[in-house]
């Protein structure tokens, strides 16, 4: 059972403060959509508006073509997993899972198999008689998800469900939620501030900033073709390098940019660009290399710090004109702090942003 979710010019106001500014969005049936953005960008508010926990100040929320603005949350066919798990501490795991069904008036005989089924899916059968205080963080999270599953909702909402877990458990639960989505096939909306979660789990990422959508798309589309500097900086880890420069020359075929004290010619023409225009060159750390064969030369970099992670080596460096640049090299490299190495980049993987932050 899946559902489509459409937001039409959805707004949220608290008094005179606008926090969500007319959002348009379509989430297709069965899709795993992730709202991602920095703290305070409005992603949780938007999710709570879909859940019916926050009133919608303007615009329309449509589910399967029906307007839901005025429908109470319990009748929207949704289930939500909270950041704090929101388990009832005085009830056993079984009672927590059964609460929604009991409230809906299901008979005991009908509740039991559904609770058992959810417990089986989440591998929490041995925990059913325990109270939440006797569970670990990961187990509590499973119970919270189980409580959502038993109701067999059309739409699952997750509000930063993994942020209270340690790094190892977070990776484990991430995989489990993705597996659960494949298994159940329901539409899911997932809120996180962690772009790694967004990249690894989403069918569709919605990048939010200050109550507006910056970009919507598949994870790799956002990674490869960010529409502006915000998305480019937010998606990808380590973060993209932004190097301030100036257009030296441009024609329909090539664009020469003065950056890091050198002239770099990109073999492509850029729209709306003129000579002496300030631009920002965006290059991801993993797209920089010291080998000449990897692309055109950017600059000789002064290495401030080397981090050997085993599978990759992170370099924190500085360009000749003092701009910070990070590099990520594959494997284990022998590079010393304070040394100088050349940096080359593949022009196919570089981005240019105009003074307004939009991709050119």
């Amino acid at each position: 059972m899946t559902t489509s979710v459409v937001l039409e010019k959805v707004e949220k106001r608290y008094g005179v403060f606008d926090v969500i500014h007319g959002i348009d969005l379509q989430i297709d049936p069965g899709e795993f959509a992730v709202f991602v953005g920095p703290s305070g960008c409005g992603k949780s508010t938007l999710l709570r508006m879909i859940a019916g926990l926050e009133e919608i100040s303007g615009g329309a929320l449509m589910m399967d073509g029906e307007r839901m603005n005025e429908v109470v949350s319990s009748e929207r066919g949704i289930a939500m997993v909270f950041q704090s798990y929101a388990l009832y501490p005085h009830m056993s795991v079984y009672k927590n899972l059964a609460f929604g069904l009991e409230t809906a008036g299901y008979k005991k005989a009908d509740i039991e198999p559904r609770v058992q089924q959810a417990a089986r899916v989440l591998q929490i059968e041995p925990l059913l008689q325990r109270k939440p205080k006797a569970l670990s963080g990961g187990q509590r999270q499973r119970v919270a998800i189980g409580r959502a599953i038993v109701r067999e909702p059309k739409l699952f909402l997750f509000d930063e469900p993994l942020s209270n877990l340690d790094a190892e458990l977070r990776v484990q639960m991430r995989v489990e939620i993705a597996r659960l989505h494949r298994q159940l096939g329901n539409t899911m909306i997932y809120v996180t501030h962690d772009q790694v979660e967004a990249m690894t789990m989403a069918d569709k990422i919605v990048v939010l900033n200050a109550g507006r959508i910056e970009q919507v798309g598949r994870p790799l589309d956002l990674y490869n073709h960010p529409v502006n500097r915000f998305v480019a900086g937010f998606i990808g880890s380590p973060k993209m390098n932004f190097l301030e420069g100036m257009v030296e020359a441009t024609n329909g075929e090539t664009t020469t940019i003065r950056v890091c004290g050198a002239s770099v010619t990109l073999p492509r023409g850029l729209r709306h660009v003129e000579t002496d225009m300030p631009v920002t060159l965006g290059i991801r750390p993993e797209h920089l290399d010291r080998e000449e064969s990897s692309g055109i030369k950017l600059a000789d970099l002064q290495i401030d710090l080397v981090e050997n992670l085993g599978d990759e080596t992170l370099l924190y460096a500085r360009s000749p004109d003092g701009q910070p640049i990070n590099m990520s090299l594959a494997g284990q490299q022998v590079i010393f702090n304070g040394s100088t190495i050349p940096a080359h980049f593949d022009v196919a993987h570089c981005h240019v942003f105009g003074p307004d932050g939009k991709a050119l």
Binding site: G52, S74, A79, Y88, H90, F99, G100, T103, A104, R147
Partner: protein, 332 residues
């Protein structure tokens, strides 16, 4: 004592080592010699702390523990304030248990008062706390206004006011008369007089209300949100979430209010004029104890009555704690 490692005398080892010269410490920085006696060491460590505690110690030993011990001794005597106390053994307690109709009457009145005033007061306090917890404007003002009766409630002035309100020609009957109802003589009628005291007790709901309010604030909002997504009505949320999560606070309030109710004295004393009338209907246990002590100067007997009350309150409290594990939910 020999050295276990080498078998040689410890003194010999010490003597074999290089000569040891302790570093010279300036005269003014040299530490004072440590006192050798237990008292001296304790005083140097904690003396100032005990000095600060002294007023409390004087109060505790002089006004609480001392009189309590003395009253326990007096409960086995026939002390009457005028003559030296004579040891009478268990006689006072035997009389309480076997041949004092007023003990049974006053205990009955007190139990009736506890049984009705405590649950009604707690229910009323919880109701007001729930209303105030809805984030209404001017909450601090309402909180203060509702708390005020608790501060004034046990005072003589309020008891006098209560007496006026519930008098035959008092305000309550005047209001009832507006609706054509002939109100009874609340205070002078044995069936109603205890209820005026119960209502007065309920009116002093401020203290448990503040504690309930604090307890309600501790319940995370997202539990209610999760329940509302499950379709739980406000009433179901209250019964299934609020009440169970509030049980530690309910338990605390119930114990404190029960002890307070057992000890209630001033309202009954003022409203009945110290008699416990009409027909012993407001003869609270403490009022009876007061009559015995300061009316008839039977200090020994009154002391025994006081200790019986202590035991009864202790039993009630112990019973509450024993049952708590069946209905009080602690998160951790």
């Amino acid at each position: 004592m020999g050295n276990k490692m080498t078998g040689r005398p410890a003194v010999a080892i010490a003597a074999a080592g290089p000569p040891h010269h302790p570093p010279q410490v300036p005269q003014h920085r040299q530490r004072k010699p440590q006192p050798t006696s237990w008292f001296g060491r304790t005083w140097q460590g904690s003396g100032p702390g005990y000095m600060f505690l002294l007023p409390w110690f004087i109060g505790f030993f002089g006004l609480t523990l001392g009189p309590a011990i003395v009253s326990f001794y007096l409960s086995f005597t026939d002390f009457d304030l005028l003559r030296s106390p004579n040891w009478v053994g268990m006689a006072n307690y035997v009389r309480i248990a076997t041949s004092d109709p007023k003990f049974a009457a006053s205990m009955g009145v007190t139990l009736f008062f506890v049984l009705f005033s405590v649950p009604l007061k707690l229910a009323f306090a919880l109701g007001v706390a729930v209303v105030l917890n809805r984030g209404i404007r001017g909450l601090p003002v309402y909180r203060a206004v509702f708390y005020l009766p608790s501060l004034l409630g046990t005072s003589v002035a309020i008891a006098v006011l209560w007496r006026q309100l519930f008098a035959s020609d008092g305000l309550v009957n005047s209001i009832l008369a507006e609706f054509g109802i002939q109100g009874p003589s609340w205070i002078s009628h044995p069936s109603y007089s205890i209820w005026t005291l119960i209502i007065l007790s309920i009116w002093q709901f401020g203290s448990p209300m503040i504690i309930f309010l604090a307890g309600l604030r501790q319940i995370p909002t997202d539990m209610y949100e999760a329940a509302s997504l499950d379709g739980a009505s406000k009433l179901r949320q209250f019964i299934k979430i609020t009440l169970p999560l509030l049980t530690p606070v309910i338990f605390f309030n119930a114990v404190v209010q029960t002890i307070d109710a057992f000890k209630a004295f001033t309202p009954a004393f003022i409203i009945s004029g110290g008699t416990g009338g009409p027909i012993n209907s407001t003869l609270f246990y403490t009022l009876y104890l007061y009559q015995e002590a300061f009316g008839f100067f039977r200090m020994g007997y009154a002391s025994a009555l006081a200790w019986v009350l202590v035991v009864i309150i202790a039993l009630f409290t112990a019973f509450s704690f024993l049952t708590a594990r069946f209905w009080v939910h602690y998160d951790d």
